[in-house]
């Protein structure tokens, strides 16, 4: 009885004392790699898009391993919050699913940057958005933009609808209601997806591109994880999510030109190369206007381009070297490859890398 009475608190006290007095075993402190030629030290803070988070974690891990005296924190608080944080000068760089708008740039007021400094926006995280579905016995479907738009607009309500059957003669489509699932939160994924639907199927999808689902209807779920869960737990559900999270769910190949293109990192990188940069931007501001209706062979038009945003010229020069070398690491083939492994993103092409590197070099 006594043992029982005092044993538990005692055990907890011992555990707590152990935990509080010991360091995390993976944080060896000064035990740096042998050939640590790095002289970089300091603390960088970034905030923004949660879509980048998995990639950021792997970039941070890679960069911190090479530079043991550096600590980088990335807050996956959301694109909007990330841009606000960067604007207020609370972070050194931002991650955002969209570039700053022209009027926001004109308004200026970037606290971390030198007065009159431009900002640098780098499309370093490119990720295909997969249209995922959960339908027994069907692993992939070929659909054109109008059909996808019809399904999400609630106009095509059964899986055996002629519009779906027409492009999928071999699939056994059941007489089952389609439950389209969309994001309930404001998100860059939704904005890119609705932008695609609006551009590629303008007569079916009459809403403007927006981070918030534009009408009330269909099932809604929070975040990529919530959406994937909803699609997985339902029957006859369809949704859209970052391709790395498609898992075992069925995916849709999208009609581009005359062929159906399944999502792939290469096809996603290809559409970015086939798209023009936004006009009227400062040098180093690499905002891209994705050409959703491109008919080039082998491009996958539903992609999310997430930017890393930094100052063209920082007000204080303390962290400039750190920002530059971190961004350079992100743009390097090695950095892009790490993100591809850990987050399923599409590595940027060499042509884009050249422009990005030039932009990073211009930071002061």
């Amino acid at each position: 009885m006594n043992l029982k009475r005092f044993g538990v608190p005692a055990a907890i006290a011992v555990t707590a004392a152990l935990a509080l007095s010991s360091c995390a075993s993976n944080e060896g402190g000064a035990a740096a790699p042998e050939e640590s030629a790095s002289t970089l030290a300091g603390n960088l803070v970034g905030a923004g898009a949660s879509s980048q988070d998995a990639a950021q974690q792997s970039w941070i891990a890679g960069f911190q391993t090479a530079n043991p005296d550096v600590t980088i924190d990335y807050d996956p608080s959301g694109s909007g919050a990330g841009r606000e944080t960067f604007l207020s000068g609370a972070s050194d760089f931002a991650g955002s699913d969209r570039a700053f708008k022209d009027e926001e740039l004109a308004a200026g007021g970037f606290q971390k940057c030198a007065p009159d400094s431009t900002i640098v926006e780098l499309p370093l995280y490119i990720s295909p958005i997969a249209v995922i579905f959960n339908l027994e016995g069907v692993d992939s479907l070929d659909l054109d933009a109008a059909t996808v738009a019809g399904i999400f607009a609630g106009k095509i309500t059964k899986w055996n609808d002629p519009a779906i059957a027409a492009t999928n003669p071999d699939a056994t489509l059941p007489d089952l209601a389609i439950t389209p699932v969309h994001r309930s939160d404001d998100s860059g994924t939704t904005e890119n997806f609705t932008e695609y639907l609006g551009a590629a199927a303008a007569d079916v999808w009459t809403w403007e591109a927006d981070g918030v689902w534009p009408f009330e209807g269909g099932e809604a779920a929070q975040g990529t994880s919530g959406l994937v869960d909803a699609v997985t737990n339902g029957n006859g559900t369809i949704g859209y999510a970052d391709a790395s999270r498609a898992g075992d769910l069925g995916t849709v190949a999208i009609k581009v030109g005359d062929e159906f293109v399944p999502y792939s990192p290469e096809a996603a990188a290809a559409i970015v190369d086939a798209s023009p940069f936004a006009e009227g931007r400062a040098e180093g501001d690499l905002a891209i206007e994705i050409d959703r209706t491109s008919e080039e062979a082998g491009v996958y038009p539903i992609v999310l381009v997430s930017y890393l945003i930094a100052c063209g010229e920082y007000a204080e020069s303390d962290n400039v070297e750190l920002v530059k070398s971190y961004l350079s690491y992100l743009a390097s083939p090695e950095g892009q490859e790490t993100a591809a492994t850990d987050a399923g993103s599409a590595p940027i092409s060499d042509t884009l890398r050249e422009k990005v590197t030039a932009a990073i070099d211009s930071i002061k």
Binding site: R5, V8, P9, I12, A16, A19, L20, S22, C23, A24, S25, N26, E27, V45, S50, D53, A54, A55, Q57, S58, I60, A61, Q64, T65, T71, D73, D75, P76, S77, T85, S88, G89, A90, S91, Q111, G223, T224, S225, S244, R245, G247, T338, T341, D342, A343, G344
Partner: protein, 365 residues
């Protein structure tokens, strides 16, 4: 079984009708009726299952059986024992039913958390942070430390304020200020947790510049949420202390403050401790305010006043919401962290109960 304490067992074999036991259902009656109800429901479900060609639904059969039992016991008792006893039996069945009903989500939740949580409930999980970890491996030591420090700080801020406020309200409070405070505590229970986080974040941003995210800011946000719960529950417990005890103390010449410390508080200590533990449990699982006020980091941080601090709920949320590759590793970590959090609260609860038992006066009940 508990009915035995109330109803004397019928004396079997007595030829003369005993006025005390006549018109009573035998003690075994509820069990027989329950068994019959479940058997009836099971056979109906069985027929349906055979008819539809689907599997037998055990859960459904038990639930329907239990529901059938309630009118059945009432009916039998009404016929044999009369209206008053029938109502009594009906309420007993309903109360027990309510308890069993509440056990369903609890059991389901525990099973879910434990089965998923055990996958990563290993030594690494308690000795590593997430610094430089991608994919598999890593641990939540930084989050455990952060949770303990921030919740501890929140408790240090809010327990004295909350307890003293409730003492003020019950023992001293008269007039406008007391009514004002009662009113404001009510308002405070209505602070949405996310607003508390925003407030704490803005408050610290004013003094330490924008973007300041520290453990103490998180603690302040938690304290905001914790104080009203502490006040409300302790106020309720203090009010229950019979006035006779206070008057007896005053009559013996004990000063008011000593009466409160030595008589009122010890009498209500068990209830107050429960209230405080509930308030801690209420805030220790908060995600939204900590995400905003204390931020997010993958590294260890022991200093409440400098730098971002990770906590277990935020860890669970970020691991779930921002899964990388492979996704299972992230989910496993999330569930293991959830299990850890529940175990921490369990431990705190146990300690609090021991403390309460040590201080509580020996009562007859």
């Amino acid at each position: 079984m508990t009915l035995q304490t109330m109803n004397p067992a019928p004396e079997t074999g007595t030829p003369i009708a005993n006025s005390l036991t006549a018109g009573r259902l035998p003690t075994s009656a509820p069990w027989v009726i329950l068994g019959t109800a479940i058997a009836v429901s099971a056979s109906v479900f069985g027929v349906v299952a055979v008819g539809a060609g689907s599997g037998f639904d055990w859960g459904g059969a038990l639930v329907v059986g239990a529901i059938l039992y309630i009118p059945a016991i009432w009916l039998f008792s009404r016929l044999v024992e009369g209206a008053r006893r029938a109502t009594d039996r009906l309420v007993t069945a309903l109360v027990t039913g309510a308890f069993l009903l509440a056990m369903i989500p609890l059991v389901s939740l525990s099973i879910t958390v434990v089965t998923f949580g055990l996958a990563r409930f290993d030594a690494d999980f308690f000795s590593m942070s997430m610094r430089n970890v991608t994919g598999e491996g890593g641990g939540a030591l930084h989050a455990i430390i952060g949770t303990l420090l921030m919740t501890g700080a929140a408790a240090i801020i809010s327990i004295p304020i909350g307890l003293m406020t409730s003492i003020y309200l019950v023992e001293y409070g008269r007039g406008k200020l007391a009514r004002g405070v009662t009113f404001l505590v009510d308002v405070m229970t209505g602070i949405p947790s996310i607003v508390a986080g925003l407030f704490a974040y803005s408050l610290f941003a004013i003094f330490w510049g924008p973007g300041t995210r520290t453990g103490i800011a998180g603690a302040v946000a938690l304290a905001l949420l914790m104080i009203p719960v502490v006040v409300r529950s302790s106020e309720e417990m203090l009010r229950l202390v019979p006035n006779e005890l206070r008057e007896a103390a005053y009559a013996l010449g004990v000063p008011k403050w000593l009466t409160i410390v030595k008589v009122v508080l010890p009498t209500s200590i068990a209830g107050i401790t429960t209230g405080i533990m509930l308030s801690i449990a209420r805030v220790i699982g908060e995600t939204a305010p900590l995400l905003i006020a204390a931020g997010f980091t993958a590294s260890m941080n022991y200093n409440l006043f400098d730098g971002r601090m990770q906590s277990l709920p935020v860890f669970v949320y970020t691991q779930y919401a921002n899964q990388g590759n492979p996704a299972e590793a992230f989910l496993d970590r999330a569930w293991a962290a959830a299990l850890t959090l529940i175990l921490i609260v369990m431990a705190l609860n146990l300690i609090a109960r021991l403390v309460a038992r040590l201080f509580a006066p020996k009562l007859g009940r």
